[in-house]
């Protein structure tokens, strides 16, 4: 399995090389969400990376509308000679890179892209230009394994690093600080809300917008052997928010020189595995659904819209077959109780006695004890 990380300065590069990595991600200030490198700094680092035999992966993950996108894309050709691989999230950046460069591409599929078919289609679309897919952190391990096995393109997963929860281009912290020195100034905050069970969300605002992270960092280093066996081809370390020296500690875990427990104790942030073991983020959905409302198939006639005790029930007949005096009804109470009744009085809204009421109109029948408004009515 390969490893990859971000370098922000020359020291980082030397360290990366010492661990035997063969590529490095460089974040340019205009293209990468958390990139800090100016053109000059980028050239310098890229050159040094090449001296060290490291492939330069250029990250273009800022999402941008056309007004920013177009001029920025036009700047990219000037940087290309230092770049070995482009790493992209926005389909626009992907499309542009495919058509305007010859470079291999890495596709960041971390947002959405939770089905094999979609990932396969991305790979097919790029033909042989796609050299890697960066998988979503929301995938459980059985899916990671399936994708690694089924996709013809190698896959990467975050091994250690912050979990990005939220990304907006709007500057949300600026209004809260008295004085912002410059457009380039980064503002950091820690947020908590009484309405959230978690406390201490790191929040960062920079020139690209505002970002909120999870209070814990993602870590599956203790599963690296398993991931390798599953066929994962690359594990990423994102230490841009922590001391880069933790790369040493992380690598010691991978080489079995240090226990994962020791690493966990020494790491400055709490760690979590996210959905690595299982993803049950849809199990609550049946509870969110209004089952009463869902139950409108088959013999459904309509809904009780008025229940006047001792007097009448008004039913809004939705079924195009309408309601006949001879119909026997099943009434489903909002609480689930069922009643069966025969109709012995059927009237329309003009209070005329009728034999039938058409669909999409109101029928007035005799009152039935226990039936409430919003009860559903079916042909029995």
């Amino acid at each position: 399995m390969k490893f990859v990380t971000y370098a922000q300065n020359l020291n980082d590069l030397n360290r990366i090389k010492n661990f035997g990595f063969n590529e490095v991600i460089l974040g340019h200030i205009d293209f990468s969400r958390f990139g800090k490198l100016s053109d000059e700094e980028f050239y310098q680092l890229a050159e040094r990376a090449h001296d060290l035999d490291l492939r330069v992966v250029f990250e273009w993950d800022v999402l941008m509308t056309e007004e920013k996108f177009h001029p920025l894309a036009l700047r990219l050709p000037n940087l290309l000679k230092w770049i070995d691989v482009l790493r992209l999230q926005d389909p626009g950046a992907f499309e542009w890179s495919l058509n305007n460069t010859q470079l291999p591409l890495q596709f960041i599929a971390e947002n959405g892209n939770h089905n094999l078919r979609g990932l396969q289609e991305w790979a097919d679309y790029a033909h042989d230009r796609l050299e890697r897919i960066i998988l979503s952190l929301e995938l459980p391990k059985n899916k990671i394994e399936e994708y690694c096995q089924q996709l013809k393109v190698p896959c990467e997963l975050l091994g250690l690093g912050r979990i990005l929860l939220f990304y907006t281009p709007r500057l949300l912290l600026t209004p809260l600080v008295e004085e912002k020195i410059s457009y380039n100034q980064e503002i950091a905050a820690i947020g908590e809300s009484e309405e959230s069970p978690h406390k201490g969300f790191p929040i960062v605002e920079n020139r690209h917008g505002t970002f909120m992270f999870h209070i814990k960092e993602f870590c599956v280093l203790d599963h690296h052997a398993e991931l390798s066996a599953m066929g994962l081809s690359c594990l990423r370390f994102d230490l841009r928010w922590t001391d880069f020296s933790y790369l040493d500690a992380a690598m010691s875990v991978l080489k079995n020189e240090k226990s994962f427990e020791q690493f966990k104790m020494s790491f400055p942030q709490d760690l979590m595995k996210g959905f690595y073991l299982t993803n049950k983020t849809d199990v609550l959905f049946p509870k969110l659904k209004n089952h009463r409302l869902q139950n409108r198939q088959g013999d459904y006639i309509g809904e009780v819209i008025e229940a006047e005790k001792g007097s009448h029930l008004a039913i809004y007949v939705k079924n195009e077959l309408g309601l006949k005096k001879s119909d026997r009804l099943k009434i489903l109470h909002p609480k689930g109780e069922e009643f069966f009744i025969n109709i012995y009085s059927l009237r329309n809204l003009a209070l005329e006695d009728v034999e039938a009421v058409a669909g999409d109109s109101v029928a007035i029948i005799q009152y039935a004890t226990g039936v409430w408004v919003k009860s559903h009515v079916f042909y029995a």
Binding site: L63, T65, E66, E67, F69, H70, A73, D90, G92, F94, E95, W96, G112, N113, H114, N115, R117, G118, L119, E121, W122, E138, K143, L165, F166, Y167, T168, P169, R170, L172, P175, L176, A189, G191, E194, E195, S196, T210, H214, G274, T281, V283, L284, F285, L288, K289, N290, Q294, R296, Y300, I305, E306, E308, S311, Y316, A350, L351, S361, V362, I364
Partner: protein, 399 residues
């Protein structure tokens, strides 16, 4: 040269709301089935209701788009073909999808036009070209895109574009927020958003003072683009979308009415200098909403687009009191009451076209003709017939 006018695309969280939106002037509605959409808790349509809704809309020259815009996981995708075939049979006008896997699945099964959901955050020409090349016929652009940029995207990528013109807004780039997933165990991109961006947060900004700042710093004001309708027209935007499948009948009706009337005025007069502009704006204010903003429609949304207030502090002074179930000289006006009102109160009936009709509710009876001095929610009442009042119209009252 003939001007290009956009369609008004309204939300329909239920069959009734679909009817309301279409009757109040929407040219198209978007609806969700019981699965695959982003509004898990919404009423949503059964298969029978979808069929009826499509029929109702088509009889009135309106279109129906069905959302399949969850980020579908493998198991969801496996269930989708039968539903797609059904949608094709009932002749829905398009499906709205977010994910390449779903695009390809739909395209392999039917010829239903494919619209790329705003969930895909399509922001630029190149992204639109990509989606077009994989089979999309329309892009619902990200809310960060300006009208000018949208026009450019349409021209350069040669594809239909749809933009939000009204409603609540996700503060994040759509599809790029997983707060609920990781903090509440609910997948926001499959309909489980817990609206954490609307919470009040205390923020430690590392300032000198020890005090944390409290703010609703992640909450967005609501979008309102009425005044820039001419820009949408001149940029030839194809569809103007109103957010809000979870919102009320009154919302669906008012929004469809206001935006379609404003558009018709422009169509007839070639300008927008209508005396009605103020009254349309007043109408938009009569529906529950957060403070309005144009967000990024003209220029990138600035600090004034943040809704730094507690939720539910709506400035709406109007509420829906009922829906007309029947209106004829024979039956009178039969109203299904949603919110109570008293004898002698003035209520307004919102006609499908034109100004609201005021009625003083002096004579109220129940449907058995017993006089009432106060109405009750979830009951039917009768008022004397008034010319112009029709079935499905909505009644409202100043509170």
């Amino acid at each position: 040269m003939k001007k290009h006018f956009p369609e008004i695309l309204a939300p329909a969280g239920s069959l009734e709301k679909l009817k309301v939106a279409v009757l109040y002037g929407a040219n198209a509605v978007y609806v969700g089935g019981q699965k695959f959409g982003l509004r898990t808790a919404a009423d949503n349509f059964t298969l029978d209701e979808l069929k009826e809704g499509v029929l109702f809309a088509h009889q009135r020259q309106a279109k129906v788009y069905v959302v399949l815009n969850s980020f579908l996981h493998d198991k969801d995708l496996a269930e989708i073909p039968d539903f797609i075939k059904f949608l094709s049979e009932i002749r829905v006008d398009a499906v709205i999808v977010s994910d390449l896997g779903v695009v390809k699945t739909v395209a392999s099964l039917t010829n239903i036009p494919i619209h790329i959901s705003t969930q895909a955050s399509t922001l630029n020409v190149e992204a639109a070209k990509f989606w077009k090349s994989v089979g999309a016929t329309r892009i619902v652009l990200g809310r960060e895109v300006s009208v000018k940029e949208a026009g450019l995207i349409k021209r350069e990528a040669q594809i239909e574009v749809e933009m939000f013109i009204h409603g609540s807004m996700c503060m994040a780039y759509s599809g790029n927020c997983v707060i609920s997933n990781f903090t509440q165990g609910r997948d926001s991109n499959r309909g489980g958003c817990a609206h954490s961006c609307r919470f009040e947060y205390s923020l430690d900004l590392g300032l000198d003072s020890m005090e944390k700042k409290k703010a609703y710093f992640m909450s967005s004001k609501d979008l309102e683009g009425l005044r820039i309708l001419p820009d949408f027209i001149s940029e030839e935007i194809d569809s103007l979308k109103i957010e809000g499948r979870m919102k009320s009948h009154l919302y669906a009706g008012t929004m469809s009415k206001v935006y379609s009337e404003a558009l018709s005025f422009y169509q007839e007069n070639g300008h927008f200098l209508s005396e009605d502009l103020m009254s349309w704006e007043m109408e938009l204010k009569k529906v529950s909403h957060r403070t309005y903003t144009q967000a990024s429609l003209v220029k990138p949304a600035g600090p004034d687009s943040i809704f730094n207030e507690r939720e539910n502090s709506s400035d709406s002074e109007w509420q829906m009191v009922g829906k007309v179930l029947e209106a004829s000289p024979k039956t009178g006006i039969v109203l299904e009451v949603r919110n109570a009102f008293n004898q002698g109160d003035t209520i307004e009936i919102l006609p499908f076209n034109g100004k609201a009709v005021s009625i003083v509710a002096n004579e109220i009876t129940d449907i058995m003709m017993k006089p009432l001095s106060r109405t009750k929610p979830s009951t039917l009442i009768k008022l004397p017939f008034v010319d112009g009042v029709e079935r499905w119209q909505l009644a409202r009252q100043k509170v």
